[in-house]
Amino acid sequence: MALDVAESETIARVREIATRLKPLEGPLLPILHEVQETFGHVPASALPAIADVLNLTAAEVHGTMSFYPDFRTAPAGRTVVKICRAEACKAMGGDALAAEVQERMGLGWHETSADERATLEPVYCLGLCACAPAAMVGDTLIGRADAAAVLRAAGEDTA
């Protein structure tokens, strides 16, 4: 079955990554990062494969992974929009920016649009606190952000 082929390919890729990074001291986070970079998320089938290579239980790998907000169990939308929610940005209208972006994208925090175009995420400081409010759209940083600039960077229709 096609699905099984895809899954066994996934597992082979994951095993390759885990085996290559295993010699690091404390290899699990680097492995999870590379798996996520490769697949856009950490597929469920990756956990037992990583566990096997590292001589851990799948529960231990899951325990670590689930602690960290960065690791996704499902793919994100094509563009990830992050809006800073922290104090310096709040001081410069970050709450209003967040509300407007949420409304115009029709998304709440951590939600992905039905057509998988975009995912909206909160972030707690981007180190752009002297040009707040700040946002990050894909790889693009936006200082003194307004909703129009965020939506433009996200390729959303701003009309």
Binding site: G26, P27, L29, H33, A88, K90, A91, C125, A130, A134
Partner: protein
């Protein structure tokens, strides 16, 4: 050939520096002028970014904040006259008023040129350290009075000495580059603007303690800093600054960059070590101290980026000069990050002791919105809120530590009179609830209760303020680390210093 500097710092990029750099090279090509564009770090005057600098003889002339549309006029004016000309960059008052030690090269040099770094004083501290014994190195750092810039303010030299004396053939230097505090960006700026300075500091720490391996734990929210540090480590290896024989000394040191995964609590040193080991980022009980049983149970120095990056200049210029700066037991300089609602935001490195009021009024020049200042949060999300009538508080550990709050990572966030302090208190509790590692109940459950209680205060339910105070007391006394333990600082300072914002609708009506 004309040399033009356009910063590659993340804040400059967030304000359009790449487009400005492209416009400059396009314009130069169209006019047939030879220009060399250097992508430097930031000088820290963020309100002027993108701050373009043109080398004029020996002087760096500034222009900013630049947009692509401003570029043709730069050429028309012969790189001198321009509507956005600022004159010599180092004479801009915000810059001229500073004492730049740790950040001396940040914004000045090409961050990825070891040669540029060396010409401007880089590696002098390391070369001196290579002539010293480990005891002499740690003694000099202790003598300088340098205290940890990550938040707790622990004397760096004493920490190093503990690791030096600890038994064990494998020791580690772990650089804490998790910089999760809102309102702070000094670590990011340094790593993006002068990465070899941090590398140099880590190698010196290795020489002083007997460690030959270093890790930089860098938050994933900083992709540009990650890329710059990775590239710098590669270049350092090729140049023999890292590797089996540092600068041909026969002493080994290696560095690896590790990326965090979005958890604020992983900035806490023991949580960070668990994370580095591939575990959940849960805080460990102390003792054992990381200095004795740290990464993989081995003696480990955990230091903030700025602590480590300040060591080279201390060794280069000597401990005495550094110690003489500052006041009381706060020695040397501190890169204060001025953020939030300010006219002139950025990084201001100065000796300890400047008053909060001078920082807000003279350095930041008041609010960006032009409205009156209502509150200033000092020291990140766990720091207290101050009122303008407390502006004579000097910026130093002694004045802030304890009851009043904390210096933290030296960020100050300014708010104008539209801020709702109940909302700020609620956010502090919410942040604690989101980021709690879950180990202790007062933090894990208390923060959630805190949010609920603040919502009830908002709704005008009686008796809730007392409940909030009790809750804060429980969190302060019963939390293992400062996330749960210090969240009461912003909450209670908001409550006691801005009581009007907590006056419930019913009380207000009485």
């Amino acid at each position: 050939m004309r040399t033009i500097f356009v910063p590659r710092d993340a804040a400059a990029l967030a304000l359009g520096a790449d487009a400005v750099a492209q416009a400059i090279s396009r314009e130069a090509e169209a006019r047939g002028e030879a220009v060399e564009i250097v992508r430097n770090g930031s000088r820290g005057m963020i309100w002027l970014e993108p701050l373009v600098e043109v080398l004029d003889g020996e002087t760096r002339m500034g222009f900013g904040p630049m947009t692509p549309d401003d570029v043709p006029a730069l050429f028309d004016g012969g790189f001198r006259s321009h509507a956005k000309a600022l004159g010599p960059v180092e004479e801009i008052p915000f810059f001229a008023a500073q004492t730049r030690l740790t950040f001396a090269r940040c914004g000045l040099i090409d961050p990825l040129s070891i040669a540029d770094c060396e010409v401007n004083g880089g590696l002098c501290g390391l070369r001196r350290a290579l002539t010293m014994s480990p005891e002499e190195i740690t003694a000099e750092v202790t003598e300088s009075g340098l205290r940890g810039r990550g938040g707790a303010g622990f004397p760096t030299g004493i920490k190093w000495e503990t690791v030096r004396k600890a038994p064990g053939d494998r020791k580690y230097i772990v650089c804490n580059a998790d910089e999760g505090d809102s309102g702070t960006f000094a670590d990011r700026m340094l790593m993006e603007g002068d990465p070899f300075c941090l590398i140099e500091g880590m190698v010196i720490a290795g020489l002083g303690t007997g460690a030959d391996k270093g890790y930089v734990y860098l938050r994933s929210e900083y992709p540009h800093a990650i890329a710059t540090m990775r590239e710098a480590v590669g270049l350092a290896r090729r140049a023999g600054l890292l590797g089996p024989s540092v600068l041909d000394s026969g002493r080994a040191f290696e560095i690896e960059i590790r990326v965090g995964a979005g958890a604020y609590v992983c900035g806490e040193e023991t949580s960070l070590l668990n994370s580095l080991e591939g575990k959940r980022g849960v805080v460990r009980a102390k003792p054992p101290l990381p200095a004795l049983e740290g990464f993989l149970g081995r003696p480990t120095v955990v230091n903030n980026v700025i602590s480590l990056a300040t060591v080279p200049v201390i060794l280069d210029k000597g401990a005495k000069g550094f110690r003489q700066l500052g006041h009381n037991r706060s020695h040397g300089t501190i890169p204060i990050q001025v953020a939030g609602n300010v006219k002139h935001g950025g990084l201001f490195e100065t000796a300890f002791g400047m008053s909060l009021g001078d920082l807000v009024e003279k350095v930041a020049r008041g609010t960006a919105t032009g409205r009156p200042v209502k509150a200033v949060q000092v020291g990140g999300p766990l720091g207290a809120y101050f009122r303008p009538d407390q502006f004579d508080t000097p910026f130093c550990y002694e004045a802030f530590d304890g009851e009043g709050g904390l210096v933290g990572h030296a960020g100050i966030v300014v708010f104008d009179d539209t801020v709702d302090m109940l909302e700020q208190a609620r956010f502090a509790m919410e942040f604690c609830a989101i980021e709690s590692c879950g180990k202790c109940t007062p933090c894990r459950i208390g923060a959630v209760r805190g949010v609920e209680t603040l919502d009830k205060i908002r709704a005008g339910e009686p008796g809730q303020v007392e409940l909030l105070e009790d809750l804060c007391e429980t969190m302060r006394g019963g939390s293992l680390c400062a996330l749960g333990g210090f969240t009461p600082y912003p909450v209670l300072s908001a409550l006691t210093r801005f009581p009007d914002d907590f006056a419930t609708t019913t009380e207000a009506a009485e």
